[in-house]
């Protein structure tokens, strides 16, 4: 047998499963085809594949995510499996005990899924809308900056800083998120600004 078949093509063929003709294309004879025909279809064949990078350490292994539904086509996409990307030069398909369990991180029961607010002295959360949360943050930022912004130091030098509000950024987020964070935080004059690189 000497056929040129891409890995994804193989999955499609194997997953389609039932058609003896397609199995023939893979080099199976009729008896093998009959045997293969009653095997359950390969689950991943009907999924959308997406290339991604493991979110944990900075070895940054390539991963393939398999979802029910195609996000690009505007569908709801339900992640059902993650595996190592064999094409990736660093990990060549391997994953560690963390990467192998990535799906459980994405689908953790303790994901935050709803904006919530805790009032002073309260022992409970209450739900809050995004709009209300934005208004609350914007008002707090504006008021605190207005009250505490320092335009000049004791020597009369222009310093334009704001020290009563701080911001920690996330080194698990993308460069693009990092850049937008940088722009907004610095433009307000915040100096207490760090990410996990400090640890």
């Amino acid at each position: 047998m000497n056929i040129d078949l891409s890995r994804r093509g193989f999955l499609k063929l194997a997953g389609a499963g039932v058609a003896a003709t397609s199995l023939g294309a893979m080099g199976f004879d009729a008896a093998e085809a009959a045997e293969a025909a009653h095997v359950r279809a390969f689950k991943l064949a009907t999924t959308t594949e997406t290339r991604n990078i493991c979110t944990y350490c900075s070895v940054a292994c390539g991963i393939i995510m398999y979802s029910k539904g195609d996000l690009k086509a505007g569908e709801h996409a339900e992640l059902i499996h993650i595996e190592g990307d064999a094409d990736h030069p660093t990990n060549r398909g391997t994953l560690c005990p963390k990467g192998s369990a990535l799906k459980d991180f994405v689908k953790s029961e303790t994901r935050a899924t709803q904006p919530r607010y805790r009032a002073a002295h309260s022992s409970e959360w209450q739900e809050i809308t995004w709009d209300a949360a934005f208004d609350k943050m914007a008002r707090a930022l504006k008021d605190d900056r207005d009250q505490n912004f320092i335009e000049k130091n004791e020597k009369g030098q222009t310093v334009n800083r704001w020290l009563t509000t701080g911001f920690l950024a996330a080194s698990g987020s993308t460069n693009e998120t990092g850049w937008l964070t940088y722009k907004t935080v610095r433009s307000m004059g915040i100096l207490a600004f760090d990410n996990q690189a400090r640890v």
Binding site: A60, Q114, R161, T174, N175, L191
Partner: protein
């Protein structure tokens, strides 16, 4: 990393010290296995514990937490004494021959000019002797007593094998065997690589640990070589990227510095950043600083940044202290000086030292905002979780917002790996519930603040009102738009300076690289080192060609590496003075008579003649620094310093406590154990486990099952001494707090003989808290001291003092 994960296969010797790659970076460690299997490479592990990495090492030696500098200076001494030096490299590619000012000296563990009141050195003399034009004087014969080489020789003299064994607790025969193995790599055709992580950074002298290895690698001629370098394994998936983009108190994207109070205008700021070469004919690439800085200001403020207004220099806040790092800010918070705090994907309650102080500080905020894919301990700091978070919500006035964000599977963009590869990823899952991208959240908050300033006015609104915001949907800038902004574009047509008729870049086009950047406002770029990542040819970070010409492990068409898609930094140093590879079997670059050719993008001008332009183009000397001048606050050479909490006095000077120039707040000093404190006789050290990633994986069911429960590791000897049984409950306490844990009694940790005294080490993994799927547990940061590295204030998590006892009837029983 100077090199790449995939380059480790080219090495002859791996030293893992200050890290545990097999445990913490398993899929990267595979390349060590590859080098062992296919090249016959050897692996050395030096660590307080017999780690997972040690279990597959060719040679292992223990070292006491916090004594690495003595070990490394000892190895340098061994190489010098035994003439195991890559001499041509050292003479030409390092500052060995440069003359240092008269009067530089070191005595009793301190450099000359120490001021105990200021906790600082007078650094004026930490510089070269210079001629009338400002160039450094040199003695290529290395005879002058003030040349760097002779000063180094003198500096390391005290680190004899006996001294090292006594301070580090490393058996002398094991130490000498390791010296011998390392010294072999001084041959031009033998290469060592260093792999380190937080085991070196989380000390009050972390930067000096790493400098010690960088110096050793220069002496062995291993920087710039395939299979060589100094390789920081790094932690989070994009910790490199966020460092590149400058999300730190004192930095601007692309490793530029935030201005200080005294730098009152742009010219004053630039006056300390001219980077004139200190040796004739050298590149000193930072002479381009002004181009990168002006391009950054144009990226931030567009038309509002003009030559007339100093490129909107006043829009940047100015620093009155070196930085407002997290330790400083939590200290301010604990004193009631902070009102609002935002934590975006960051869980400081678990990841900064002295947890009791952190809880007290958070309780004094008016409003805490947490944006995170997970429900973190920080967001829930006010909740009572029994002994695992023993607080009374009624006493805490802080308002809290918990905002759900997307995670990697649901978002798009680039993350940067340890080897500086910017790798693009795509979303493949619908976010759960109301989770939203950080960019959408930030835009909504920022645009509302901007609107409030527009309608209400307020102090200096200009930087907010004029911040560039050219996004198609202002409420949701796309990753592509943001990536393009970081790469930068021409604001007007750029002509070739040597041929004004020739157009280099049309107005509005993406910049092809950083070489075309200008300081006249005609280019913009958010992060100059990322120029080339999104060009007119498209998204270079999304490239997926995994071919590897020459089988050198570089993968030049796989994504994009900064700078300029270069995969090995300082790669010009892989060839000799004539431009021939030191090792023909390990060719990276070669001078063909007219230009540099080879497998990697040359780290030098492609036509810079060998023998004239030296390889280290980012330094103003053009060579690597064995003597770091005024670069680090705690000395131009690393000197042995004890941790702030030390089981023995400093062998060089018993009156020294910790790093003499590290910043310590007085109330924190009161909460530290004394030197050789009898109440806290054991050394604590913290670390990660392969099943877990910081405080994230306890939310993942599989990982929670694999390592469900907090434990500490102790030696059989300590267990016997304290009557602790295997699997029994113990109480471990420091001067700051206590934890209860299960005891793992193991042969992997052994007592060490230090200063004639037997020292026990207690290993404390970091992964537990009170949120998630794993069993609730105590957190290691309950115990650790509130002090950081003298240069960047990374907390000292790796060496501190504790005590331990059996506690069968404690809260876990």
């Amino acid at each position: 990393m100077t090199n790449a994960w995939t380059d480790i296969k080219n090495t002859d010797l791996v030293i893992v010290m200050g890290g545990n790659a097999a445990e913490a970076h398993p899929c990267g460690f595979k390349w060590v296995t590859e080098a062992k299997a296919h090249r016959g490479a050897k692996l050395i592990v030096v660590d307080p514990r017999f780690t997972r990495t040690a279990s597959v090492a060719d040679y292992y030696a223990p070292v006491r937490p916090g004594s690495d500098i003595a070990f490394l200076m000892g190895v340098i001494r061994y190489c010098i004494e035994n003439d195991r030096v890559q001499w041509e490299y050292v003479r030409n590619y390092t500052n060995a021959a440069l003359l240092v000012q008269e009067g530089f000296g070191w005595k009793d563990g301190l450099f000359d000019g120490y001021d105990p009141e200021k906790r600082a050195y007078d650094m004026d003399g930490w510089d070269y002797q210079r001629d009338d034009e400002g160039y450094a004087l040199t003695d290529p014969t290395l005879q002058d007593p003030n040349c760097v080489w002779n000063l180094l020789k003198k500096h390391v003299d005290v680190y004899t094998p006996d001294f090292v064994a006594d301070v580090c607790g490393t058996p002398k025969d094991r130490y000498l065997k390791i010296c011998e193995m390392i010294a072999e790599c001084s041959a031009p055709d033998r290469v060592m690589t260093s792999m380190y992580a937080l085991g070196w950074t989380q000390h009050s002298k972390g930067a000096q640990n790493i400098r010690g290895m960088a110096m050793l690698q220069l002496i062995l001629g291993n920087i710039g070589m395939p299979g060589g370098g100094v390789n920081a394994l790094r932690g989070h998936s994009n910790i490199q990227g966020l460092t590149d983009i400058g999300l730190l108190s004192h930095t601007i994207p692309g490793y530029l510095s935030m201005p200080k109070d005294d730098e009152v205008d742009f010219e004053t700021f630039m006056s300390t950043k001219l980077n004139k070469p200190t040796q004739r004919g050298q590149t000193s690439f930072w002479q381009n600083y002004r181009k990168f800085m002006v391009s950054f200001q144009k990226a931030m403020w567009g038309d509002a940044a003009t030559a007339e207004n100093d490129w909107a220099y006043d829009y940047l806040p100015k620093l009155d202290v070196p930085y407002y790092d997290i330790l400083r800010f939590f200290d301010m918070m604990s004193k009631g000086q902070v009102n609002l705090y935002f934590c975006q994907g960051f869980n400081p309650l678990m990841s900064f030292p002295n947890r009791a102080k952190l809880t007290e500080a958070l309780s004094k905020l008016k409003l805490l905002v947490v944006m995170d894919p997970l429900q973190t301990e920080t967001a829930h700091f006010w909740e009572n979780h029994g002994p695992f978070n023993d607080v009374d919500p009624a006493q805490i006035a802080t308002e809290v917002l918990e905002l759900p964000t997307t995670c990697f599977a649901e978002d798009e963009g680039a993350t940067v790996n340890s080897g500086r590869w910017l790798q693009w990823h795509w979303p493949g899952a619908t976010p759960p519930g109301q989770a939203k991208p950080d960019t959408w959240i930030l835009s909504n908050v920022f645009l509302r603040v901007k609107e409030l300033y527009r309608t209400e006015g307020g102090p200096f609104p200009d930087p907010i009102l004029n911040l560039t915001w050219d996004y198609e949907d202002p409420y949701e800038p796309t990753p592509a738009e943001l990536a393009k902004e970081m790469n930068g574009r021409a604001l007007s047509t750029l002509y070739d300076p040597t041929d004004p008729a020739k157009v280099l870049v049309e107005a509005g086009q993406q910049l092809p690289n950083f070489a075309v950047m200008r300081d006249d406002g005609s280019t913009m770029s958010g992060c100059w080192i990322y120029a080339g990542s999104w060009t007119e040819d498209g998204n270079m970070m999304a490239r997926r060609d995994n071919s590897d010409p020459g089988d050198v492990g570089l993968f030049l068409n796989w994504t994009f590496a900064w700078p300029a898609n270069r995969r090995i930094l300082y790669n010009r140093a892989s060839a000799d003075l004539a431009g021939k590879p030191w090792d023909p079997a390990r060719k990276l670059l070669e001078w063909d008579g007219e230009r540099w050719t080879g497998y990697d993008v040359p780290d030098i001008s492609p036509t810079a003649k060998p023998g004239e332009v030296m390889p280290f183009i980012m330094t103003d000397e053009g060579v690597g620094r064995l003597f770091s001048r005024k670069g680090l606050k705690d000395g131009p050479f690393p000197t042995h310093m004890e941790p702030f909490e030390s089981p023995v006095p400093n062998a060089l000077n018993a009156s020294l406590r910790g790093n003499p120039v590290a910043r310590v707040f007085s109330n924190d000093l009161e909460q530290m154990a004394g030197i050789a404190d009898p109440d806290f006789p054991c050394v604590g050290t913290t670390y990660r486990l392969t099943e877990h990633f910081h405080y994230w994986t306890k939310h993942s069911r599989v990982n929670a099952v694999l390592q469900p429960e907090f434990f500490v590791e102790i030696s059989e000897e300590l267990a016997a001494e304290k009557g602790i049984r295997k699997g029994g409950q113990v109480r471990v306490w420091s001067k700051r707090g206590e934890v209860f844990a299960k005891a793992v009694v193991t042969k992997r940790i052994r007592p060490m003989l230090v200063g004639g005294k037997s020292i026990h080490v207690i290993g404390i993994p970091i992964h537990w808290g009170f949120m998630g799927a794993a069993r609730k547990g105590y957190s290691a940061n309950t115990l650790t001291p509130f002090v950081g590295d003298a240069n960047i204030d990374t907390p000292e998590f790796k060496a501190f003092l504790v005590n331990i006892e059996a506690a069968e009837k404690g809260p876990l029983a």
